[in-house]
């Protein structure tokens, strides 16, 4: 196993304590909140955020940002929903593969523009975000696809339960493991850290920075594509504005989870905990009678606190030049 700091740091410990305290606290006010049934519900509710957060993490690790994930999700979701409504006979497995493939392709566009052409990620994904949204309108003509136009299996699949957990949640678990392996056990995963931590040093280490960025965006895109199907089937509706603004929640989950926006720092468990934190807050506020509008404020404060704590712990020290200073080490 790798060094433990690759997947668990003080940040993850602190964040899990916060999430636990939150659950226990809300449970005091509203018994049953932390019961098994509700926890499964909460996990299921947060699954899409977890998956998108894991993809986004890859991008942010390389010093990028992917603002187009929600638009990618909506476009891919619309495509598979339209296919399902026109040709209900197409097997679900084909649709799933198609969703991932479309998402990957949309992400690869970002990856090419950032990694090969060299346009800053925020500009590229701001552009593709608008383009992908526009494309939904073009292919759907602004029409909605509703539950009755979707096949039963299309809508029902994510809800089916295996070992008491819905398939939707299993997707999150599966991708969590996949991402964990990618990050810890492959060169590509480690290159994400190198490229974001020090692009300059990465060149010296013989790492292709552009290619690494390309793969980060493509992975983020593929995850978004999968979530496209999961989202439209879960809510049984597809339209232009699906998941509008959700990219910010995804980035928030990453930042709260300890992924440094400056690149090179972040862990898979951190992102999952960041997403769970947001999911818990979202679910808890109505339960304890606080307006959901507060959710934004709480999420915002959590981001700021996370970033401030992080910045504080990284305060720069001087260089070591004096002989005495060296021997102290």
């Amino acid at each position: 196993m790798p060094t433990h700091s690759l997947f668990w740091t003080r940040h993850e410990t602190a964040l899990s304590v916060v999430v636990l305290l939150l659950l226990v606290g809300v449970n005091l006010k509203s018994p049953g909140f932390a019961g098994p049934g509700n926890l499964v519900e909460l996990l299921n509710d947060t699954s899409i955020l977890v998956i998108l957060g894991l993809g986004q993490m890859a991008v942010i690790l390389t010093r990028g940002i992917d603002l187009s994930v929600a638009a990618n999700l909506a476009l891919t979701g619309m495509v598979v929903a339209m296919i399902n409504s026109v040709a209900p006979g197409v097997p679900l497995a084909v649709l799933l593969v198609l969703a991932v493939a479309i998402g990957f392709a949309l992400g690869a566009v970002n990856g090419l523009l950032v990694g090969k052409v060299g346009v800053p990620a925020i500009v590229v994904t701001l552009g593709t975000m608008a383009i992908y949204r526009g494309m939904i309108f073009l292919i759907s003509g602004g029409e909605w696809i509703n539950a009755h136009e979707m096949s039963d299996s299309f809508v029902g699949f994510p809800r089916e339960k295996v070992l008491r957990l819905p398939i939707l949640s299993w997707f999150a678990v599966l991708l969590l493991i996949l991402m964990f392996v990618l990050i810890i056990l492959t060169r590509l995963g480690r290159n994400f850290y190198a490229v974001g931590g020090s692009p300059h040093a990465a060149v010296y280490a013989g790492i292709d920075v552009g290619k690494t960025q390309f793969w980060a965006f493509s992975i983020s895109g593929a995850f978004a594509g999968l979530c496209g199907y999961l989202w439209v089937s879960r809510f049984a509706v597809a339209y232009v504005d699906v998941a509008r603004g959700f990219e910010l929640e995804v980035i928030a989950a990453c930042v709260i989870g300890g992924v440094s926006i400056a690149g090179g720092v972040g862990t898979v468990p951190g992102v999952v905990l960041g997403a769970l934190f947001l999911g818990t807050v979202k679910n808890a506020l109505p339960v304890i009678g606080i307006s959901p509008f507060w959710q934004m404020a709480v999420a915002g404060s959590a981001i700021l606190i996370a970033v401030i704590i992080h910045a504080h712990s990284q305060k720069t020290q001087g260089r070591i030049i004096l002989k005495e200073a060296r021997t102290v080490q």
Partner: protein, 511 residues
């Protein structure tokens, strides 16, 4: 192939592993390497010596695929021409380098730093962490470094980082190991360990290119030497055949008769007084005076703490103790704003990073530090800002199509003038110039020098940090040499001699 320079060569010198023929490297405005020829032999340590800026690091970057040489030259490996388009290819060809600026990853573990880019993998292509860990352990043990492979690089000292960098180079099965100033920031014990490592590598038959400007290093490890001066080879051969004086002569070459338009200026009263400046890790016990009209040079090796000390004076880091007085009045400088207010200004070395705002026009760059003077009732007076910019750009003779031209489109020398103009506009008493002519072409150097003389004539006190020996000697009234964060000597008048300065900077008593 290069003709042998000395007689009675041992057999191995007949067949070089690496042979560089006619390699040049041109940067905009600067020819960093000019038709370099040299060879590396198996089981041999070749020392590459030269002043700062002689082109040593550029040569290393060409050999490791970070820079591409100009067309026309050849790099031969085992007699066959090779291309080295990137660092990965260099590693595959068996060339490993330990760079001067340790290019490592702060947030990754030691083991990862050692193997990044060439991690061992298992049968199905996943990283083999056990092999990475034990491999790092083994290679660290091989060089006698007691470092936990699991610790994060950020938590290591500079010396330990160097050990990691060496381990990294050794983890690639390299035939050619390039060490760029490996001892620059190591303690005495660590240097001894390093010599032992070099000897072991040599016994293994590796070719080692050892870059250093410390003669003790050169004489301790090297079999052969190559001297670079101003991007050209100024001598090579066997180390046994040369004395230190010969090497210094080859390094410095020219007598210091270049045109430095230093005018004799009447030295006035003390304008800056620094006492007992001390930082926990960067520098200690720095005390000096600076007089009006004086140019005080600070010489030393890269990493000797000169820039760090100047930045502390300017209030960039305030983690230090000591007193500072301007015009006899003690000032407390906690922030660059305080320093500018008090009349002390620092022009940093890295123009692009610390000096000019590149994507901004000349006018706004010059006006940036004196907005207080060009702002009325909280509103910027653009006309006044323009007048200030025009005044200083004319004085500095900035060559640009118009003052609204972006600084990034100017040549290096003109960029430097913009930065100087910005600080002059604040009307300072003391101006600190950190490597004022580093990386700019010869033609642009003398206007900067002329201007320094002119400023001194206007009774400013000037401090010049420079690693350029002729520049330091040609321009300074007085030179303070720093070594390892401390003052290692003060020279003026007839004592301003290259050999004395180099000796003080390297701590070498028997040059």
């Amino acid at each position: 192939m290069m003709p042998p320079m000395s007689k009675n060569l041992p057999k191995s010198f007949d067949s070089p592993v690496l042979c560089v023929q006619g390699i040049s490297k041109t940067f905009p405005g600067v020819k960093a390497l000019n038709s370099i020829d040299f060879s590396l032999y198996p089981g041999t340590v070749t020392a590459l010596v030269g002043e700062n800026g002689a082109g040593k690091s550029t040569l290393v970057k060409v050999l490791t695929g970070v820079y591409q040489p100009d067309a026309g030259g050849n790099i031969l490996l085992d007699g066959k021409t090779v291309q080295i388009p990137n660092a990965h290819k260099a590693a595959l060809a068996g060339i490993a380098a330990i760079h001067q600026e340790t290019v490592l990853f702060d947030d990754l573990s030691v083991a990862e730093n050692v193997f990044l880019g060439h991690q061992p993998r298992n049968a199905i292509g996943l990283l083999d962490w056990n092999a990475i860990r034990s491999g790092a352990d083994a290679v660290l043990a091989q060089i006698g470094a007691d470092i936990n492979p699991d610790s994060r690089l950020r938590d290591l000292s500079i010396g330990q980082r160097h050990m990691v960098a060496i381990a990294r180079a050794l983890s690639v099965d390299a035939r050619i190991v390039i060490m760029d100033e490996p001892t620059a920031s190591l303690s005495h014990k660590e240097v001894e360990d390093l010599y032992a490592i070099v000897k072991r590598l040599k016994e293994d038959g590796k070719s080692i290119l050892f870059i250093s400007h410390k003669f003790e290093d050169v004489y301790a490890v090297a079999d052969r030497y190559t001297v670079l001066r101003d991007g050209e080879i100024s001598g090579n051969g066997e180390i046994a055949d040369v004395t230190r004086d010969d090497l210094i002569q080859m390094m410095i070459g020219r007598t210091v008769d270049q045109v430095f338009p230093k005018e004799d200026v009447e030295i006035g009263d003390t304008v800056l007084n620094v006492e007992e400046f001390t930082h926990p890790t960067e520098f200690a016990d720095i005390s000096f005076d600076l007089k009006q009209g004086e140019i005080l040079g600070f010489y030393g090796l890269v990493g000797s703490g000169r820039s760090e000390m100047m930045q502390a004076l300017f209030g960039i880091s305030n983690f230090h103790s000591g007193r500072l007085a301007l015009d006899g009045k003690e000032c407390l400088i906690k922030h660059p704003e305080d320093a500018i207010e008090a009349g002390l200004v620092y022009i940093p070395e890295e123009r692009a990073i610390q000096g000019a705002i590149l994507p901004m026009p000349i006018t706004q760059n010059i006006g940036l530090a004196s907005l207080g003077k060009t702002t009325r009732c909280g509103l910027l007076d653009a006309t006044k800002e323009f007048q200030v910019a025009r005044h200083y750009s004319e004085r500095l003779d900035i060559r640009a199509a118009s003052l609204s031209q972006l600084v990034e489109t100017l040549s290096g020398g003109n960029q430097q003038k913009v930065v100087i103009g910005k600080w002059l506009a604040t009307e300072p008493k003391v101006l600190i110039l950190d490597e004022p002519t580093k990386g700019i072409d010869i033609g642009s150097k003398s206007p900067v020098h002329a201007f320094m003389s002119e400023l001194a004539g206007e009774r400013l006190g000037l401090i010049m940090v420079s690693s350029d020996l002729p520049e330091v000697i040609g321009m300074s009234d007085r030179v303070i040499v720093m070594r390892e964060g401390r003052m290692a000597g003060e020279f003026s008048g007839d004592d301003l001699r290259p050999d004395l300065l180099v000796r003080a900077a390297t701590g070498n008593q028997e040059v």
